[in-house]
Symmetry: C2
Amino acid sequence: MPFDIPQDATFTALADPTRRAILARLAEGQATVAELADPFQISQPAISRHLRVLEKAGLISTRIDAQRRPRQLNPQALAQVATWLTHLAARYEAQYQRLDAVLEDLQSDPTIPEGDMK
Amino acid sequence: MPFDIPQDATFTALADPTRRAILARLAEGQATVAELADPFQISQPAISRHLRVLEKAGLISTRIDAQRRPRQLNPQALAQVATWLTHLAARYEAQYQRLDAVLEDLQSDPTIPEGDMK
DNA sequence: ACTTTATTTAACTCTTAAGTTATATAACAA
DNA sequence: TTGTTATATAACTTAAGAGTTAAATAAAGT
């Protein structure tokens, strides 16, 4: 079962909260740069740059409508990332089922509760 | 159908290729800091910092085994991110099915092929 | 007690990335 | 052609983050 490992640029693109908000907006339907910039306090040029990052990452694509450049989501790119993450989790689960892994666990102390490590 | 929006820290953690490689390694089973540092050229303290980032993001957790601090994957955190991405893609698909969205598409020019935009 | 092993923390450097404003480009409208 | 709308690019500033080495902490081994 081979699956694609997402590009570095894709994860980089997802790391910014403004860009994630843009993706969430585009999930509701295509939108122009002005429409995308509207909900944010940052300048329009800043949004344009975010869009460039998202497009290079393959997460969105651009159409031409006169002077407008409406953007739309590329759902396959999102799905590809989701698949990679899911496979990692599944791989972990598979290992965790193994008897020797369980025994290894019993040998040592329990997990440190969150926040107990300084 | 409510679903959790992953923390900003989680996406930030996933943005670094070394940290993703660490996650991939941990999907094969728990590992100590030294073991995790081994495949990389960077220093062990750098790995420790990556691990701190991953733990704050909820992606891994730490056990105590004498002087060792074996790390293990938190598959739920990965699954949560996957779910968020999948929901975005699904939401897009749902919008895309709508008739008016399709008509809107027909009104304007086709998508710019990748690489044609400077 | 002293040494070794495992890991973390601190202090620092350097690069990258996100924001800004000002200017350029491009299509349309009068 | 001149102006207006929509978006992109350039030049610049600032802050965050990833790396380094050196020193601190902590548990075991001798």
